[in-house]
Subunit: 497 residues, 2 copies
């Protein structure tokens, strides 16, 4: 049913997207926002059938999927509002100074869309980071057509959402080619999309191997194109001594819940916990282990992810000096055991962790490694050696923070979101959110995938020099008919010129 799209089909789709681009980029912010709101409406109107299909394909529970659909609708609506408001356009105007030597011409700059964007959705967010998810919403707000490569783990869910987008496009008068839905399992399908001359940017959420491959193809094109790939991370949690002494049992419960939330299948899952050898750490590990033992193994998204989890968990546990602390003691339903993710905690000493790069790698699922450092210095060394992360967390009292300034600075430098006394799971959709981070968490730390700033991945500045008012885009006209915020001669204003 979902066989690979042929090279000919892919070419037709990309040609249609290119034609659509030339029309859609001329559409007003209001028109774009109207289209996005219509998509939100159509997805809402899919009702229970969509939820049921997603439940069948992803094993995710109904409440989670209802919540995720609501989030997806909120993303579309809030990015539509941001699109219309126009702050993201970064309109900058410097009016002519004919008496300057040399004279300064009138120059006006705004952000314009890059072109067709290919989106690779994530299996772990079948709505919010898939067909009509954050990348698609960002691209439509930017003024770019979207070609979604359906995730093979939820093709029917993806198809229902794609049909909703197509209905919304028809109802709001969008050009043919504004959206396409491509299916395929072979990597050749993704490669054909990314290397097509009319593909101008890529959004991806998934594994490091997948994201890095797409990024390499994109940079090896005759015309390299930008790829924003969010590739996950181990999201280290640092346990500072005073805080741990005060609250080891509470932190253990909080962290255990975060590790096993959604069967550990979040990009922000805390896969690494770093503490300093002490009675408090012993007690924390003991409590964490007990909580994990009492956590029911959940069914993972699909067989491929379950197998990868089992293999990577096994590989991690086999490393020198790595010891199993605890795994869930709650029996599997025999029929499902092949697809469940067994909640697991392991531990290793700080020196071994520093020596063995495999232990720095994500084990996608409900697994976390506790690194026991000999002292404060070793914890600092571990922090300095860590790769880029989506998030990093300090569990710390005020005194801990005063005693660990270098550690906080080192951790700040490797993450996109820096959390104090919380857990990394739970990504709020708001302007202040950063979902991204230094490589290998993402391919470009200068951008993020959550919140309306994500639009910026798919736009570029264009300056207009010496154009008469009547020929300028609405966004840059003297009268400011769209009432957007602009920087005029270095002053920010919503007024006319």
């Amino acid at each position: 049913m979902y066989k690979d799209s042929s090279p000919g089909e892919i070419n037709s789709v990309m040609e249609a997207a290119w034609e659509a681009f030339h029309i859609y980029r001329g559409f007003s912010l209001k028109q774009r926002a109207g289209f996005m709101r219509a998509i939100a409406g159509e997805i809402g109107a899919c009702g229970d059938a969509l939820i049921q299909t997603a439940m069948q394909e992803t094993n995710l529970p109904e409440a989670r999927l209802r919540g995720e659909r609501a989030r997806t609708i909120f993303q579309l609506e809030s990015y539509a509002a941001a699109c219309e408001k126009g702050d993201w356009l970064e309109a900058r105007i410097d009016t002519a100074l004919p008496d300057k030597n040399p004279p300064r011409p009138d120059i006006r700059k705004m952000l314009v869309p890059l072109g067709p964007v290919v989106v690779f959705g994530a299996s772990n967010f079948p709505f919010a980071y898939s067909t009509a998810g954050g990348d698609t919403a960002s691209a439509f707000a930017a003024g770019c057509p979207v070609i979604v490569k359906a995730h093979p783990a939820h093709p029917r869910t993806s198809g229902i959402v794609a049909a909703a987008i197509t209905r919304a496009a028809e109802k709001t008068g969008m050009p043919k080619g504004i959206f396409a839905h491509i299916t395929g399992i072979s990597f050749e399908v993704g490669k054909a999309l990314i290397t097509h001359v009319h593909c101008k940017a890529v959004g991806f959420t998934g594994s490091f191997a997948g994201g890095k491959q797409l990024s390499d193809w994109a940079s090896q094109r005759p015309e390299p194109i930008p790829v924003f790939a969010e590739m996950g991370s181990v999201n280290p949690v640092f346990l500072l001594p005073e805080k741990l002494k005060q609250s080891a049992p509470e932190i253990a419960v909080q962290v255990a819940a975060s590790i096993t939330l959604g069967v550990g299948q979040f990009c922000t899952n805390p896969g690494l916990i770093i503490g300093i050898e002490s009675d408090a750490l012993q007690s924390f590990v003991h409590d964490l282990g007990k909580a994990i033992q009492q956590t029911l193994p959940g069914i993972m998204l699909h067989q491929g992810i379950a197998d990868a989890f089992a293999n990577k968990r096994e590989e991690a546990l086999m490393q020198e000096n790595v010891h199993l602390v605890a795994e869930s003691l709650l029996a599997d339903d025999a029929g499902e055991s092949q697809r469940t993710g067994l909640p697991t905690i392991a531990t290793v000493d700080g020196k071994t962790f520093q020596r063995n790069p495999l232990l720095h790698k994500e084990v996608f699922g409900p697994y976390s490694l506790v690194v026991r450092c000999a002292d404060q210095l070793e914890m600092l060394q571990v922090a300095r050696q860590l790769e880029g992360q989506l998030t990093a967390t300090l569990m710390a009292s005020l005194a801990d923070l005063k005693n660990n300034v270098e550690l906080a600075e080192a951790v700040k430098n490797i993450c996109g979101r820096f959390i104090l006394n919380g857990v990394p799971t739970g990504v709020e959709v708001c302007l202040s959110m950063q979902h991204g981070g230094p490589f290998p968490a993402s391919t470009d730390s200068r951008f993020g995938a959550v919140g309306a700033d994500a639009i910026r991945r798919f736009v570029r500045p264009l300056a207009f020099q010496n154009w008469p008012d009547e020929l300028l885009p609405e966004e840059l006209k003297n009268a400011n008919p769209l009432h957007i915020r602009r920087t005029v001669n270095n002053e920010v204003t919503e007024g006319a010129i």
Copy 2:
């Protein structure tokens, strides 16, 4: 005197930059701005000796170099002012909503520096795009240490400016390693810098071959890093029929001056002129040719550029259906003729141009190719086929623009700056400027190299979640002690929370 820096020296310099980064990124915006203003002061204080040295090394005339030094000082001072003002930080705050379900934590985001930046200066701007030029100023404002790879065409000029930066760093208490000056001719020096683990971003201005090579090295690193390479372009000028009929002689004079300004050695030099066969075009080409014949050949920056110009000019003129229109008739001073750039105009028909990609390539120097299109459709085809450009220009009346909407849209889509009835040379340093463009004009069309927005190449967003006010950076504290513009709960304000 200027031999290649050794791998050991490069490693020491990069280690020192990394150490400096951890200190400098903690410095306040005011401290960064103070450092940049001190550099401006020190460069000013270099006086005539700097100008004389640059004249000897670059063959550029005194007035031009004095102007360029003033521009460089202006860049440092205006980016310092922008740095201090803090708009570029994109501070976004969403305060906690404990009653939301799930509760929203307090999240605050701002831009933070990437790390040490390696800057490769341009030979054609020995001050403004070299040692203390726009890339260096952008990186210092961002909070990044800078390692300049001195351009081998003006090593002594570069050395004087580097010493000025070092003095400014000492006087303003900057950390050791905040700036380094590396010399070398071999490509191995550049490669060693870019592939060093502590290099976190690259700024480059120069040729396509150079920029592409750096970009490839950067993307092939174990940890890929962003490169902003401005690689020049042919800056097409489209002559629309009514405007040409009205003003052929004036446009010819204007374009001839732009082609030969600074011996054609500007990235924004108009190297391609596209018109439609007509009496007006004949007359324009005739007038342009006459103006070129009467332009004195100037001495080019260095022998390498003069040789490359001579060779590429020769190669272009040898292409099928390319005809020489005119070259300067003014005799060279015999002793200098090897290093002069001969102002040259050639012409070709639209079909040949579309067929021969070599004719799309930049001939860096005072050379321009006039493409004679059969009709309006062919001009549109040429526009659609063109590669990415820093600038594109329409010479057009209002009626022309109404009759050529598709052309204007096609041209808009390939350039970073879109000019009406002007010339592309002359790049104003202001916020509305875009100096960059779709590949191959630059490696990333989403950024630019002129104006304070250029700072953004070297920063990334970092979100703080759930931090108490006293531990947040000044930029994000409730009281807004720096009085910067911030987006608080989706409203822009300079006030406190």
